[in-house]
Homo-oligomer: 254 residues x 2
């Protein structure tokens, strides 16, 4: 399945009982988004996953991308701002979805109060109507979770990446800013998170093979297969092999 669609379903098909409390948080989160757009001159999108709505705040980046057309704020009936997403060059958009999907899975497993310590950081290239490429840092925060632990409000920030101008480097990661722990993300499917051997093991797992069989095929010991299996689960941040296959497929790693 397409990763954008999977992400869409995961975000919107959470259990949204108890969503009343979100309303009281909404206006403070809107003001945070508005201030980011103003001070950074970027674009801030606050998405309400419960109501499937987004509040978009436009700084000067929106004009550089020929978006906004005189608006400073807009409300839409979707969590996806197609105009903004349409400016991202396709390979980078896939990378964004892959990071975002993994970020969502990671945060779902964390206690509510720890979630605001994390954000995802993605380098994107965006393109305006005239075809000029603008290097952008895209960051994703989950600002608000419902009492039942469902994620409720997402803040997506887009800012021009000044420090990278003229450089080629790309660097996508999830960070826990409370302790500076970084989770680096693969730059692209080719520049993989998994080693060649790990991908071989995972392909065998996907075919329904057991550890002993895999050991025979790859001419390694069962212990080694199991070590690879553990490393794969850790790298993909999943609990079991079935989930590992699903995530790796979505990320086009196997």
């Amino acid at each position: 399945m397409d990763i954008a669609k999977t992400l869409h379903n995961n975000l919107l098909h959470q259990d949204f009982e108890d969503a009343g409390a979100l309303l009281s948080a909404l206006s403070e989160c809107q003001s945070i988004a508005r201030n980011y757009a103003k001070l950074e001159n970027g674009i801030a999108v606050l998405s309400d996953l419960v109501s499937n709505k987004s509040y978009i705040f436009y700084g000067a980046l929106a004009e550089m991308l020929a978006l906004a057309r005189g608006n400073t704020e807009k409300e839409i009936d979707s969590i996806w701002e197609e105009d903004i997403l349409g400016c991202i060059i396709p390979g980078d958009l896939q990378a964004k979805y892959a990071v975002e999907y993994r970020f969502f899975q990671l945060l779902k497993q964390l206690p509510i109060k720890e979630r605001v310590n994390y954000h995802a950081n993605i380098r994107l290239r965006m393109r305006n109507g005239a075809g000029i490429i603008i290097p952008v840092i895209h960051r994703i925060f989950y600002l608000y979770s419902l009492p039942n632990s469902s994620l409720g409000l997402t803040l997506c920030l887009y800012q021009v990446d000044y420090s990278q101008q003229g450089r080629e480097s790309q660097d996508n990661f999830i960070v826990n800013t409370a302790n500076a722990e970084l989770i680096r993300m693969p730059l692209s499917p080719a520049n993989g998170l998994l080693s060649e051997r790990e991908r071989e093991v995972l392909k065998c797992i996907r075919q329904g093979k057991m550890s002993k069989e895999i050991a025979g095929i790859l001419k390694i010991s069962v212990n080694t297969v199991n070590r690879h299996r553990q490393n794969i689960l850790a790298k993909l941040m999943v609990d079991n092999s079935m989930e590992a296959c699903r995530v790796a497929e979505l990320m086009q790693l196997i």
Copy 2:
């Protein structure tokens, strides 16, 4: 004179008539600073130049630096937060003052409504009690100007520089985020903004020599001297040669 002292005098000895309006902006600016500290887990310092006070908001970076000691907010009777500044390694602190001084001079010349489009971006190395070096991005915004054009409220942000971990590069600049125009700053006095020839010309100017005399000394044409003179003014962002000498001395360029 010491650049920190000059900066101190420049910031605090503005004309602060009409300062009443600042109070109404203060609480919104405090909430912006509070949100930055919370979302970025950095340190945000909002300084009120009129009252010579600072409001400090501590995120997790404060704990990494062994500052804060359980506080999340603090108010002090100074625009300089000595504890925070004391964590910056000395060479980087000098660079910060040089950028900050130039940023202040630049903003003073701009119309009030354009000022919020600018910020200064400085890479710093900060050190905690145990001697561990943390790479930090330090950004300075002027959030509020008085009706008479004096600068009133400064926001200083300190955030861990995740993208730079393990790299050596340094990159200080002032940016106009409304049009993405970058003004790059010298990394250090040695890595100079001015060319060797420009420094020679400026030293002659400081000695009170006229263009024709300088041309004779350096064995170049008067036109060339005047071209250097114009480039020097542009690079230092000043209006006349006397100001150029003063700024260059402060920045230890001559």
